[in-house]
Symmetry: C2
Subunit: 195 residues, 2 copies
DNA sequence: ACCTGAACACCGTTCAAGT
DNA sequence: ACCTGAACACCGTTCAAGT
């Protein structure tokens, strides 16, 4: 056979995919390099060709997460009716967390040391800068920094609480996570005097 | 000697203290029962007298965290000037996260399965109910649920972002985490039309 | 860029037998 | 409510020697 037991150039991507699957199914402590290798049918140290340590694989998952989040926010804004851009952006942020809870959690867990993987800081900053411009457009310049931080904190906290299932049934009135997020963001936008 | 190498009734508390210290110093993956035991000079399976699994020790740390957070919020509100209660409560929440970052992160990391440790859900609910009353007093009843979730999401997200060091220097203007939190909360209260 | 296979220090957890 | 000590399956990581 000319096809041996060898795998080819996409092992790196397969490692990331299998890593995210393990994260979703079993949680962070069960994501071991050995288990990922086992799932892919490669030897227990094949992953070391692509990631020098387990933390490096986690960092790569986080990096990909930042990229995907930025991409989704961008698409949401460009597809939104005028005046709805900020709500669309916020909803995209929450929806990303709901769709990929394990990655979202890992991104903000503090488990991956961002000083050891400096590329992560740059990715997370790019997305923030985009929303700063949007907020400046929508709300004007007074207290811009506080407004940006508030908006970010609101959607970030909302995502976290929904992910954790912390919102009690009595407050949900049967609404899905998505519906709840939209209601909260619209309610806040209304209270701030612009809907 | 009548005092042998035995330890006494407070081993449980010592395990929690040492566990939090390890969490702070080395992170979650370095918090092992064996290392905690080593630090306290007890045998590697002495911890099993108090916690049936490693997860049970983590759950106990989280439970204690909820209690301490609720206590702080209560004190902050009772010591606040009238009209400042909500800001004081929010600041207490953020300050708890800043003072005990490892515990705060663990509480909301999803690493500790709250369905496996049902007492955790009750603790986190109690604190939420208290803030619901306060918000009803301050803002009236319209869209109360959305207001409660917004307020919680805002302070929760703010705490997370500060803990992660995600707020870029350009937005900080040299302010400490605490000062930044206060500025954001006051700015939001002002924008909502009540300061 | 992968393979096999050995090796090391670590871990959670369980057990047996003590005080 | 602790102790010692053995045991098991697992892990990250490193190495040597291959294709």
């Amino acid at each position: 056979m000319s096809t041996s037991t060898y795998h080819h150039g996409d092992l790196r991507r397969q490692l990331l995919t299998a890593g995210e699957a393990l994260l979703v199914e079993q949680g962070l402590s069960s994501l071991s390099l050995r288990e990922v290798a086992r799932r892919l049918g490669v030897s227990h140290n094949a992953p070391y060709r692509h990631f020098p340590t387990r933390d490096a694989l986690l960092a790569a998952l986080v990096e990909q997460g930042y990229e995907d989040l930025a991409q989704r926010a961008k698409e949401a804004v460009s597809g939104a009716a005028s005046g709805e851009a900020m709500i669309a952006r916020g909803l995209a942020y929450v929806q990303f967390a709901l769709d990929r809870p394990a990655i979202f959690r890992l991104m903000f867990s503090g488990e991956v040391d961002e000083t050891a993987f400096p590329q992560l800081r740059a990715k997370s900053l790019a997305s923030l800068m985009a929303s700063t411009e949007a907020i400046a457009d929508a709300f004007g310049e007074e207290q811009l920094h506080e407004a940006v931080i508030s908006a970010w904190a609101l959607v970030h906290g909302l995502a976290q609480l929904l992910l954790d299932g912390q919102v009690p049934e009595a407050m949900r009135s049967g609404r899905s996570d998505r519906q709840l997020a939209e209601a909260v963001l619209r309610s806040m936008a209304f209270a701030l005097g612009r809907h």
